[in-house]
Amino acid sequence: MSQSVAERVSRVVCEVLKVKAEAVRPGARFGADLGAESIQSVELVAAFEEEFDLDMDEDEALSVQTVGDAVRYIEDCIRRQHG
């Protein structure tokens, strides 16, 4: 059974930021709660692009603050880019 967008986002966040899955809650902020440094934010966006085969707008993607917002943003990108 395929994973949901939220599950895949959670997995990518754990891999890139080296954090435990239980820390990756919808309200968790990438910087303040999960410790993402500037370069890691860029790496996270790049990893999302690869995971979901998307081309993200740099400014839009980097302005996303929380895990929940990232899920919604990615779902929106999937709708726009993959129909």
Binding site: S38, I39, V42, E43, V45, A46, E49, M56, E58, A61
Partner: protein, 461 residues
């Protein structure tokens, strides 16, 4: 307070980039709101910057004279090449009007002959001699029409260096000036140490006498006056006192001693970091000629930088009057590569890093719109596009800017920082994991581009 009409936020439909002052493709303008007022001898004196803009402001060069006193001698070949470059830099209208040479050695004289053979109208070649009557033979033999001569005017020089009193110095200088005129050579009196001199007791009487002497002479023989701020004591602030006040000194030369602006020149030194602004101040207050040296090379701390004077000229005038500012870059390359001169990396307009950023946040701005962190269109004006140097402070923004410049990608074709994240990670690891303390070289970055962006590296423009 926010109800005050002048304190209300004014929203606009788009940005107001003040392009009348910052045209970007040209040197930023130096606008004035009105006259400059100064109290001199108890009277309010009005200086009109618009009048200064209309005057025949120009630059005279001392690269081969004062500039050479600060470094090993140039070869004849080097001087001829630099003279040729100065002619191109200053353009056909003589923004760089004159340049002065020593006359004492065979090399000095050969250089003048070869420079003259190039056939440039500008910069006109003038001489520089001690105030020794015998030296006029040298000037005359070289066929020069003008020469500078030392007429030191502070008591430090008159009493302690020349071992004379004021009367003796006054008379001796005048004798040499008359000798020059009799030889058909225009004297340019270099008032050494004028910012430490007795203006009322020596400078004004001496210069007034020079002007009196000039009255019956044809224009080409009338005496010129160079105000030499030998120790860099000059002060540009309104209200400063003589002898250090530049506005007051210029005003008294023009209005009391009777020196017209076209025969008045300023020569400064940088001992107090004031050399450029002091020279430009003289332009505004009434001297037409600004004596300068390439890259500010000159005795001790140096002279006004000639390339800075040219940029100032363009800012004040609103145009460069035929001067080709891009030649500044060519001359800097010649000095560093061939002459072996050292120009500090952060030196304005020509230093290796003058338009290089290392800060990620500045690189981000440059990527979005070059105008945010570039003083003007340095690619167009100086043939030096803004650069980014990569360190741990550059971030992914800096890396993206560097990669796009390296690959020649512009506009929508530019890669985002997301696309260069592997290179940015490699850069960060050099510092965080390997303890690096030096900047990443262009070769190292190019290798990373080949590794991580091979499809772009193959098609590099």
């Amino acid at each position: 307070m926010t109800d005050h009409p002048s304190h209300r936020l004014v929203e606009t439909g788009g940005p107001n980039l003040l392009e009348g002052i910052f045209p970007y493709t040209e040197v930023p303008r130096i606008p004035f709101d009105g006259p400059i007022l100064e109290v001199i001898n108890g009277q309010v004196v009005r200086f009109d910057p618009d009048e200064a803009v209309r005057r025949d402001l120009h630059i005279t060069d001392t690269t081969f004279r004062d500039g050479q006193q600060a470094r090993p001698p140039y070869s004849v070949e080097q001087m001829v090449t630099v003279y040729d470059l100065l002619a191109r830099l200053g353009g056909p209208n003589g923004v760089i009007r004159q340049t002065e040479f020593f006359l004492y050695t065979r090399n000095d004289r050969e250089t003048i002959e070869r420079c003259r053979a190039l056939g440039h109208r500008y910069p006109e070649i003038t001489g520089w001699i001690r105030a020794d009557p015998g030296d006029f033979k040298l000037v005359r033999d070289m066929g020069l029409r003008e020469t500078g001569m030392l007429t030191s005017c502070s008591d430090y020089h008159i009493f302690h260096k020349l071992r004379k009193d004021r009367r003796k110095a006054f008379d001796d200088y005048l004798a040499v000036v008359q000798e020059a005129i009799q030889n058909g050579v225009r004297p340019r009196c270099h008032l050494e140490d004028v910012t430490r001199a007795d203006i009322d007791g020596f400078v004004v009487p001496f210069v007034a006498r020079l002007m009196e002497l000039s009255e019956p002479l044809p224009e080409e023989l009338k005496v010129k006056v160079r105000l030499c701020d030998t120790m860099g004591y000059g002060i540009s602030y309104p209200g400063a006192a003589l002898p250090r006040s530049i506005p007051k000194l210029i005003h008294r030369m023009v209005h009391e001693a009777g020196v017209p602006p076209e025969r008045l020149e300023w020569h400064g030194h940088n001992d107090f970091h004031k050399v450029h602004i002091n020279a430009a101040t003289c332009w505004l207050y009434g001297a037409n000629a600004l004596n300068a040296s390439l890259f500010g090379f000159g005795e001790r701390t140096g002279n006004p930088p000639l390339e800075g004077a040219l940029i100032e000229y363009a800012g004040i005038k609103g145009h460069s009057n035929g001067a080709d500012l891009a030649v500044i870059t060519e001359i800097a390359e010649y000095f560093t590569r061939t002459v072996g001169a050292t120009i500090p990396a952060n030196y304005p307009f020509v230093g290796l890093d003058f338009n290089t950023t290392r800060a990620g946040i500045h690189a981000d701005g440059l990527r979005r719109d070059e105008r945010i962190y570039s003083i003007f269109d340095t690619a167009r004006i100086l043939r030096r596009p803004p650069q980014v140097a990569i360190t741990d402070k550059s971030g992914a923004d800096g890396v993206a800017l560097w990669v796009n410049q390296h690959l020649g990608l512009t506009g929508d074709a530019q890669l985002s920082k997301i696309k260069v994240h592997k290179i940015a990670r490699w850069v960060m690891d050099q510092y965080n994991l390997h303890g690096r303390t030096t900047a990443i070289s262009a070769d190292e970055l190019a290798e990373q581009v080949r590794l991580h962006l091979p499809e772009y590296a193959a098609g590099r423009r």
